[in-house]
């Protein structure tokens, strides 16, 4: 009913200062709720984007990450010939053997030390991962101590900028290029020549292999024979599945902590809605008596005050969503507990989250408005009119 809606909205407007404070308080809770979801989803999305569904990653069976995995040089050569792995026009397998290490650098903002993923690889990495492209400078020269850094590393670690020299493994490494990995986790990595890294860090084996499949559905063709072969002792996973798993602990911690905070704040917001609506009922007792005299039922009165309360909630929801949408331009950089390396990720807002935030806000306001609305509905007409009863 249009008139009924106008009645509720105009009453909120008539008490606009109280309404504004209540909406602001609830809006803040929605903002926190949404920020948590956006952050956790942003992390998962960043790592999820790190993989390509057309790629498979090969690790030693039982290894949790590339750091504790190893594949010998001989095995790597044999594995690359497995059917189901894409080949170039020249008949070379589209595969890359890599070594995963860690590097400690100082961050720009906090001046604190942070651990970065160091990936010893080859130029084949760009064929296996077509989304990774050169953004500045040039590729490293094989057989040299030249390195490239991901876009987020260049942004957040001033000493790792283009043309800077990094000292690690008792050698000096020059940053000759910056690559853009389309917002994926590779943006938080440092890449260089695998052979140079292996020599520097006295490694004889690779950590992992990433191969491009002939077709995205060719995983089984690679996975089954390689995992069955006792020589290799390998575990084969689709690349996005592997990287998504790398976000599990941190995403869970963000969600648990954030949702706990949201739950605590929401109690305050619900109480705010209850107080606002209780004041509305107290101010409009005669109005309630009048409506009941005109023939409106107790249920209609209950609905009226609930609609009003829900309108408060919906406004708060929109305010929270508007505030949270600005977070999309913010990037957070922190340690990923699953890898021990720094990972940069943003707040990501999806339509489902917008719906969830609105639902959450309306639910809070409904719970907050229920007691005052019930009290309004239970008023006796004569008592509500507050006039002479004799």
């Amino acid at each position: 009913m249009m008139l009924w809606g106008a009645y509720s909205l105009r009453n909120l407007w008539a008490r606009r200062v109280t309404t504004a404070f209540t909406v602001a308080g609830m809006g803040l809770v929605v903002f926190v709720f949404l920020a948590v979801l956006m952050l956790a989803h942003g992390l998962e999305r960043t790592l999820g984007k790190t993989g390509d569904p057309a790629n498979a990653i090969l690790l030693r069976k039982g290894a949790l990450s590339e750091i504790d995995s190893s594949i010998s040089r001989d095995h790597a050569k044999i594995i690359a010939l497995q059917s189901g792995i894409k080949q170039t026009l020249e008949g070379r397998p589209v595969a890359v053997s890599e070594i995963g290490l860690q590097l400690t650098l100082r961050k720009a903002k906090e001046r604190s030390l942070a651990s970065l993923s160091l990936r010893g690889t080859s130029h084949d990495a760009f064929a296996v991962r077509p989304k990774v492209r050169l953004a500045q400078g040039r590729l490293w020269e094989p057989g040299t101590t030249e390195i490239m850094v991901g876009a987020q590393v260049a942004k957040q670690f001033p000493e790792a900028g283009l043309h800077h020299v990094l000292n690690f493994g008792n050698r000096a490494w020059t940053v000759v290029g910056v690559f853009d990995a389309d917002g994926s986790g590779f943006d938080s990595e440092v890449w260089g020549d695998a052979e140079q890294f292996m020599a520097t860090f006295h490694r004889t084996a690779f950590s992992s292999m990433t191969v491009r499949l002939t077709r995205p559905d060719a995983l089984a063709q690679v996975k089954e024979p390689l995992e069955r072969d006792p020589r290799f002792n390998l575990s084969v996973k689709r690349e996005p599945d592997y990287y998504e798993g790398k976000a599990e602990s941190l995403a869970k911690m963000i969600r648990v902590t954030g949702l706990f905070l949201t739950a605590v704040f929401s109690i305050g917001a619900i109480m705010g809605a209850t107080m606002t609506m209780s004041a509305a009922v107290a101010q409009r007792t005669t109005e309630i008596g009048t409506l009941r005299t005109l023939g409106f039922t107790r249920l209609a009165i209950l609905q009226t005050f609930l609609i009003e309360s829900m309108a408060l909630g919906a406004s708060a929801g929109l305010l929270g969503i508007a505030g949270a949408s600005f977070l999309q331009s913010v990037t957070i950089s922190t340690v990923n507990w699953d890898t021990g390396s720094e990972i940069a990720f943003g707040f990501y807002l999806s339509p489902v989250m917008v719906g969830l935030a609105l639902l959450f806000a309306v639910l809070m306001s409904m719970v907050g408005g229920l007691i005052p609305a019930t009290r309004a509905a239970r008023l006796e007409v004569v008592q509500a009119l507050g006039e002479r009863t004799v």
């Binding site: 105009r10 023939g295 107790r298 249920l299 006039e387 002479r388």
Partner: protein, 227 residues
Amino acid sequence: MYDPVVTLQRILKVYFRAGTEVSVLRDLSFSIPAGTFLAIMGPSGSGKSTLLNLMAGIDRPTSGVVVVAGTRLHELSEGDMARWRARHIGYVFQSYNLIPVLTAAENVELPLLLTHLSRSERTDHVKTALRLVGLGDRMDHYPRQLSGGQEQRVGLARAIVSDPTMILADEPTGNLDRESAEDILTLFGRLNRELGKTIVMVTHDPRAAERAQLIRHLEKGVLETPP
């Protein structure tokens, strides 16, 4: 047409205040023929408003039978009583009781929200009712933009817009100046004479009561027998 439109039989109404029993209406029986303009007079505390509230179906007697518009009110549930009020009662309050956030037209439209009328039909009814009380040009005004007399005329339009069986008015001129009070009483007279509406008005004011066809006095919960 219900005749009589109101029948009260052996009505007893008792309130409990601070643990004390207060009898407001005692063994009250009377009826009101359809089409009557009745004024009920009496001093404060005599039970006038309670009597009106019983007839309006917004209060229930401690004992006795209330039959209004052919319905035995004490047999109705809360919800049915609300729906019955919407159909049969137009109530005019002393303090007008308009909803401040709604315009005159929206205030008058309220009772029609409980009917099955379409939006355009409701608008037509509202216009007719407001024109009848002389406020056809004040439809979009909010109560705060109206004088007391105009507010009460909106209250009267709201009471008649759904064409109820009976109009009940509780001190309708109590808050008005003489001129506005006269306007309201003239409207009551017209509604009674021209449209045959049954009107029961509770008042302190003898000059207001004189405009009714019939005056009954209530004293300490007992209705005075007419001579």
